[in-house]
Amino acid sequence: MPIDLKELGSRLRRIRESRSYTQEEIAELLGIPRSSVVQIESGNRSVDSLELMKLSQELGFEPKDLFAEEFAEQKDSVTALFRAEPKVATDKKLSQAIARWSSLCRQFTHLEKLVGADRGLVPPVRYDLPQPRNKWEAIHQGTAVADQERNRLKLGTGPVPELPEIVESQGVRVGLLPLEDSISGLFLTDENIGLTILVNSRHSEQRQLFSYAHEYCHLLFDRQKKGIVSRLENREDQTEVRANSFAAAFLMPESGVREFLSGVGKSQDVPTLQEVYDEEGDAVRAQRRGSSQPLGLQFYDIAHLAFYFGVSYEAALWRLKSFQIISEEERESLAQKQTAAGAFRKVLGDRFSRHRDRFSKHESTFQHKLLSMALEAFRLGEISKAKLKEIASGADVSNGELNALLGGIEVESPSVGEEVRIPN
């Protein structure tokens, strides 16, 4: 049975409240008096189509869900996230960014279904481990799963600068958005938007890579939560500790770090004694002279290591300390040389940047995929040209550029002109 005006108003009120918007804020958003919002919500005045589309975009809900027989706003990940993190909902800039991102992902999911790209898509694995009871367990879980994931993905021991692509190739929507400084990223999922990860584009490239790994961990462990915002102030939470531990271990595996150090002549001189059994009942012993020099890691070694793995100087220092390659005293001393380390990194970056191009390209990869999917949906006759134009405009493609693209898609005969249509 179709809903009436009163029910429509009531549903709009429930969505507004779930997003922590006041009636005044909605009035301002729509450019109408607050009394009109009151009337809409009480069913005495209908929302118009323009207002409805604006609300769906800014508050992040699917317009057609409003008219469903059973209205279940709690199924939606944005609502779940805002409920779990009221602070996010009250931050209008952040909540609108999340709403817009979820709209984009919803559109992507819809196009995926239209062109059949959802068939055969295997979602990333999920680790159903019990919630860690303490930080020690959290660190252990994060590290163990990072090793497993590296093995599963056949990543070896080297750097993974292409992590966003690795995550994306598993059907996850990955994006960059300018978020407030204390937020490194967020994870959001429901059946309409799929699995999504957002990372703060205002942070440095190294921090972004760490955040991708951190959010990827949430996706592997915490999918039941529907949404998690990773904030600096939550870093003591066990799920955050686990995600940080995962990110560090995933980006800088111990064996890879040791191989790197060995390659630059800074490995610990072990083993010093080798014995080979020779089936004659004896063993051949070979002894190497032990290095009398300490490891002697310098700031440039750490900067080089950090650059190689695409992580920050500080992250590399902490990782070396966790392997007991450096002491706390050495970590502190090296941390004070951050300026010099930064200068060295700049030299490496300027001359041998492997990451920069990838990052600037990656910023828009999701939109590129969205546009390709939309072109395919148009070619198959699943969406109209006007819808394609809307999607293209969202991906900053001009009408001229789109027309050039459409020239290559054979959906109609260019030789036949418009016929005359008149209603009978």
Binding site: P63, E382, S384, K385, A386, V416, V420
Partner: protein
Amino acid sequence: MADQSNVLDVCTDTCVLINLAHVSRLDLLGQVEDLVFHAPQEVLEEVSEPVQMRKVEQAIESGVLHRLRIVAVEELESMAEYVEQFGKGESACLAVAIHRRWVVATDETKDRRLSREIASKAIKLINTPGILLKAIRQGRLSVQAADLIKAELEVNRFKMSFGSFQELV
């Protein structure tokens, strides 16, 4: 004067407005006797070129085009379904057409998705050449003037499948 019972309401999509604005002949919308043209707000928002926007505003002020606000729940519901596969302007036109049995004015009749929907819902159509032909038949426009409009639109990539309106009258 047209018999009011024969007057058809038309929900106009963006392409028709842009075509007529391009040749500065939006006035024709008011000259075709048995049709009353309406444009949903979504369509008006899709006219983004400032000069064309001004011309469309003038057409509304002079009463040849009527601004349409969609508020009926069943129309909103249809529109909410349509926006997943159609542009917002098209979605508004389709929603109004199926619930009010109005005619849709569009030049996107070769769009596969749109033509499929129009055919499956038996929606009546008119396009820019159709509006010009009606104006000729009602003595509001000469064949020569219509052919000049045709030539101007064809420069703007809107091709028509016939040589002259003379072949059709």
